[in-house]
């Protein structure tokens, strides 16, 4: 009986995808791969077909591949109706319709929400409007910023030293531009990787000629008479002349369009179960609405079913594939989204990668290499188990620690390793900022239950 309904859905059902970017595209491709032959509608508020964002703060700023040229390759023909350049503005769950900003409505049998996040704007709107003030999230942002850097500004100010801010600073230095980085925390990347690794990142920035200012906030931006930004003022009373400002203060989830719909969507994202099915506001799981990518918050078995929001490329791909699979599956054939978080960044010529959830760690041990050489593996511990790892130019170790995380292996790692320096023999406090103080730009947001229980054995599906 249920089989017949599923067969009908596959043969001539209607699936709507809202958010036509990485997660949306990969979800759509997977739907077709799984034999979905019905109508597929892709709704995206950007006028462009799906493109890749990571190059926007790397290749595109370095002038090695324009921001306009990062369209994502297609794994297959998806034969969709594209509604690009129009935002979804509402959802009627009872009638199963997505409302569009142009007044249209699109009916669905299954809905995939992949609306991602947007850059957090500079809080003072008048200052944010100044010519020369940028954020970096979209292709248009990337193209505009690259153009401005091409013009050879005298000084660039980057506000916020998370991954994106640090990559922008790195690109500026590689172009030979003067750059100042202002960071409220004690070091770059502290929110994601803690103070021990943050100190390495700080050194790396300074050695590369970045004017790094930590423990300081930008209190105001000032324009000249023509409306161009010319200076910034800091909380320590100092000022800086600059003609380009990049606001890099993290992201906000695109969930406002769901307000009043009855779906469990809010500023922290859209909560879903391990199978990517969205919850409604009563905490009841829906069976026809699925979520994936940066906008989703989902419980992870490896981390005590704590809800994780990940702003990670690999998560968007993997979660979209799982969501699409589950959209077309019987309940017994559904799969949980159990991807082990992983992330990469390249800055100042160093390849930084992480697995697991370093920000959950309370301790860190430098297990391979050394911080001084800027080639090391840091392993994060939480209540006696390995919970994350980061590598600086040492990515060959990452897979090993990924296995350790999956196996909930003990921390500190008991085994002697081939490459452990004296400094790495004992764990240090990982030195994360107080989590109750909001830090901008986390790439992982945690909420929900505690992952204290380490008796569980985690056995991921083969990938």
């Amino acid at each position: 009986m249920a089989d017949a309904a599923l067969d009908r859905l596959k043969a001539d059902g209607r699936i709507v995808v809202v958010g036509a970017s990485l997660a949306g595209l990969r979800g759509a491709e997977t739907l077709r791969d799984k034999g979905f032959k019905g109508s597929l509608t892709m709704i995206g508020d950007e006028p462009y077909e799906p493109y890749d964002r990571p190059p926007l703060s790397k290749q595109a700023l370095l002038g090695k591949g324009a921001a306009e040229r990062t369209a994502l390759p297609r794994r297959r023909e998806i034969d969709a109706q594209w509604r690009l350049g129009v935002a979804a503005s509402g959802l009627d769950m009872a009638a199963r319709r997505v409302k569009l900003a142009d007044g249209d409505e699109v009916p669905y049998d299954r809905l995939l929400i992949a609306t991602g996040v947007r850059a957090r704007p500079w809080p003072n709107p008048a200052e944010a409007e100044l010519d020369g003030v940028f954020v970096l999230r979209t292709r248009d942002d990337g193209a505009a910023l690259a153009r401005r850097l091409d013009a050879g500004p005298r000084r660039v100010l980057v506000i916020g030293a998370g991954f994106t801010g640090s990559e922008i600073a790195s690109a500026c230095r590689e172009r030979g531009l003067e750059v100042t980085v202002a960071e409220r925390g004690d070091a770059p990347l502290v929110g994601a990787l803690g103070g021990v690794v943050g100190a390495v990142a700080a050194e790396m920035q300074r050695e590369n000629g970045v004017d790094l200012r930590t423990g300081v906030m930008v209190t105001g931006l000032e324009g000249d008479t023509t409306g161009r930004v010319r200076a910034a003022h800091f909380s320590d009373g100092t000022s800086l002349e600059c003609d380009v400002v990049v606001v890099s203060l993290g992201a906000q989830r695109n969930t406002e369009w769901l307000t009043g719909s009855g779906l469990g969507a809010g500023p922290r994202g859209i909560a879903c179960d391990a199978g990517c099915r969205a919850f409604d506001i009563r905490g009841i799981v829906t069976d026809d609405i699925f979520v994936a990518g940066d906008v989703a918050r989902s419980p992870h078995p490896l981390f005590g079913y704590q809800f994780l929001s990940l702003e990670h490329w690999g998560n968007a791909v993997s979660q979209a594939e799982t969501a699409a699979h589950n959209m077309l599956s019987e309940s017994t054939e559904r799969r949980p989204h159990i991807w082990v978080p992983a992330f990469w960044s390249t800055q100042f010529g160093v390849n930084i990668k992480s697995v697991g959830v370093p920000s959950m760690g309370t301790e860190i041990m430098i297990a391979q290499g050394s911080r001084a050489e800027r080639r090391f593996t840091g392993v994060y511990g939480y209540q006696g188990r390995v919970i994350g790892a980061v590598t600086f130019d040492n990515s060959r170790w990452l897979q090993f620690y990924e296995q350790q995380i999956e196996a909930t292996a003990p921390f500190p790692p008991p085994f002697p390793t081939v490459d452990r320096r004296p400094e790495g023999q004992k764990p240090l406090p990982a030195d994360f900022p107080d989590p109750s103080v909001p830090t901008h730009g986390p790439t992982i947001t945690l909420s929900g239950y505690s992952p204290a229980d380490r008796r569980m054995t985690f056995t991921p599906a083969g990938h």
Partner: protein, 80 residues
């Protein structure tokens, strides 16, 4: 030709940079930069890089690769 490298997978073996240096380049010891929309002239070399990448991290437009076989998509996919 559009391409993307899954840099979570990429191990920086630099095979691709060796085979298609106009499209892929190492950035530092381990980092990889690539042109996400490489010229068609490099198609052959990119195809070699795709095949040679030990962790299959490089994804190229299937539409382009299969340009000679229109209608190849949309076949019945049995669940794997």
């Amino acid at each position: 030709m559009r391409l993307v490298v899954d840099l979570n997978r990429c191990q920086g073996y630099a095979q691709c940079a060796f085979l298609a240096p106009d499209v892929f380049a190492m950035h530092g010891d381990e980092g990889l930069l690539y042109d996400p929309q490489a010229e068609d002239a490099y198609r052959e070399r990119v195809a070699q890089a795709v095949a040679a990448c030990p962790v299959q991290a490089i994804l190229v437009d299937e539409l382009d690769m299969a340009a000679a076989a229109p209608g190849a998509g949309g076949g019945e996919a049995s669940d794997g």
